[in-house]
Symmetry: C2
Subunit: 419 residues, 2 copies
């Protein structure tokens, strides 16, 4: 079955199906080694997470993305997806328009790139457009400052399917696979929860409240509204939760019954966070639209960093989009916190105990986890806590947070076969 | 401002504005004493709770209500609103079509009724249509069995405004007043909660969850979704909560901050419950549509009694209504209960701990209240508990539940002036 994705286009899938076909395809191609970010974006493109993109962007697309937040054809798009390369390398390898080049990742043939355009771009313009700032301390600006000096535009074809390693393998769904899974589950409405966290009960209730919003006035006897926890897997920084703890911790909420089996599932997306606040919120919405979600929750400070964006900028931007430009609905959420008067986790839009209600402090939760002191079940589910400790032992070299050792020696998220 | 109510008609208001005008109007009219039920229905009609009804129903309307669940003009209507009278009284007082008669309640002139039709009706047909049963043990059937033998159809005009007594006075809003109040509050969506209960935290969360459903995908920075607790005030039975405890207990959730001031209010409707399950659910929806609500929550066993209806019959009936027949949306709710694993009040549509989750037992809560043992705040809010005890002392002759003494000596809900 062909599914329709963002911009009204069929979900892109540009993946060679057999190794022999792949070997044929790549014969004699000039090769270029790519970074983890580019490899992750190749996966995003080739499996259709970025539908309607079939490859890295042309200059004309980057222009309209920066100027009007659309592709050149008018489709809503907030952030450039570009292939950067040193001009020197282009020269040395005599890469020219019309070539197809082979992208190598971790010494393995990975994807082909059809060279349709080679161009330069004003990075300051890109930074200002995407981040609203060119401040070099902004982590997204920092990423852009690390771009090579030249860009190649063109279609991507994956010639080597990533083989996701445990525990990632059982959470991996491409957009076409996810559409099928949602159909099997009978969900008529699916609301995405974007996360890079091990869940505390504030996160759990954010999802639970948003589920009601997505369900709306629908009958409830046969539940046809599901929650898709869609974790972002990308580069890690020291002190982040390890990826394995995030996925397994989210799944534990399911396995331990904090979510019913029939209304909740966990998956992930490969993406290097830009921390672009409101513009990144739109990209997240597009990715989940492609995954088949009908709704996407956005809490406080979605994809924000420091104080570059107002807490609710990522809420407001959706009001400015032209009608019909996005086929997924934002469900905007204020704050869930622990209220000692209510004696439970409550919502700032409902509970009037503003002085007493306590925000969930990430720092507090982290220190609890760090100290391995089991917190109260109202704050952090004990089964999730145990799972985090187990993940730390199994994957984190004893720590649930990224250490130098983890960053250095961790199991790769996916392996590539030798072609 | 003229507001549009059910059936696309302006909210009915048939109330004489001055006593002198009223005295003029009733001069020389034949008078008929009416029961509390009829008096409450006169209020319902005259203030537009039953818009588009302007009076008691004609035979043709009762026919279509029974046969097609509509008025004769096609407007959705589930339950006959009829004026019953002994044929003997009609004969003795020579009441005839074309007369206007004066209705007397508690020895005071109350309303006029324009006699447009005098008719008999097959009560068994009415019972079967409304209740789906003619079983004399059904309390609605019992009510119908008590009807006098003849009916008068015709327009009602209130000549004596009920003066609601404390604490009822501050909760009384006619449909026109409620529309104005909602406009002042800036609510674009208002969801009605129907109740005859002092709230425990299961009720509180039913409202909180339904609020999200009504809010849907709307922005949340400026909250424009409100909860209207719409209590039913009518005849009481031994052991029911006293009316005063219901209203003041619901209001206490507000005053003690369990609901934010800007998203919640408490009011009431005069109505004698029929316990007609699904058909009564539609009537409740129509009344709240007239009050200006956009949504109405329906939980398990709405307006049901014993096992005459399936727990979710009142959910299902809304799927059978013709498009556009009702200008208010049902928000259907499963069950909220206390889950010891979650350590909090949870929803059966979300929490997977089906074996462990405990339904809130009315009997358990009643026994807690009866014994004056303050329950845990997760189950019953202490401020509400204190309010119930205070109401018992002040209004209930020491008991929060209706006793013979209360039924006999209670303060009337409203007084009528001597014209």
């Amino acid at each position: 079955m062909e599914y329709t994705g963002h911009g009204g286009k069929a979900i892109v899938e540009r993946v060679v199906s057999s190794q022999s076909q792949a070997r044929e395809l790549i014969k004699g191609l000039k090769s270029v080694a790519v970074t983890g970010r580019t490899a992750r974006e190749c996966i995003g493109i080739a499996y259709g997470f970025f539908t309607p993109l079939e490859g890295f962007m042309h200059k004309a697309d980057v222009d309209t993305v920066c100027e009007k937040m659309t592709l050149a054809n008018g489709t809503l798009w907030p952030i450039p997806i570009v292939f950067d390369i040193r001009e020197e390398e282009i020269r040395e390898k005599t890469i020219e328009k019309g070539n197809t080049i082979l992208l190598i990742y971790r010494d393995r043939a990975f994807a082909t790139l059809e060279v349709e355009e080679i161009f330069n771009y004003d990075i300051a313009k890109m930074k200002q457009a995407v981040f609203g700032t060119i401040d070099a301390k902004h982590p997204g600006v920092k990423m852009y400052d690390g771009f090579e000096d030249t860009f190649i535009a063109g279609k991507i074809t994956l010639v080597n399917r990533p083989k996701f390693q445990p525990p990632f393998d059982k959470f991996w769904y491409t957009p076409n696979q996810m559409r099928q899974k949602i159909a099997e589950k009978g969900w008529k409405r699916t609301i995405a929860h974007q996360t890079r966290n091990v869940p505390h009960s504030g996160h759990e209730w954010l999802m639970k409240g948003a589920w009601f919003s997505a369900n709306g006035e629908m009958p409830v006897e046969k539940l046809e509204t599901g929650i898709l926890v869609s974790c972002i897997i990308g580069p890690k920084r020291l002190g982040d939760y390890i990826d394995e703890a995030i996925l397994l911790g989210q799944q534990k909420l399911h396995d331990a019954g904090y979510f019913r089996d029939d209304i909740h599932m966990v998956s992930f997306v490969m993406w290097d966070m830009r921390y672009a606040g409101p513009k990144e919120a739109i990209l997240h919405a597009i990715i989940r639209e492609n995954l088949g979600c009908t709704h996407h929750m956005f809490g406080r400070d979605h994809a924000g960093v420091d104080s570059y964006y107002d807490s609710y900028d990522a809420h407001r931007i959706f009001d400015q989009l032209p009608q019909g430009s996005l086929n997924i609905k934002p469900v905007r959420v204020l704050e869930w916190g622990y209220c000692p008067i209510c004696g439970e986790v409550t919502y700032s839009g409902l509970c009037g105990h503003n002085k007493e209600r306590q925000a969930f402090s990430g720092t507090m939760i982290r220190s609890i986890v760090q100290d391995k002191v089991k917190p109260t079940r109202l704050i952090f589910r004990p089964e999730v806590f145990d799972q985090v400790i187990e993940s730390a032992e199994k994957y984190g070299f004893g720590s649930p947070f990224c250490t130098e050792e983890y960053l250095d020696k961790r199991q790769p998220v996916f392996e590539l076969a030798k072609l």
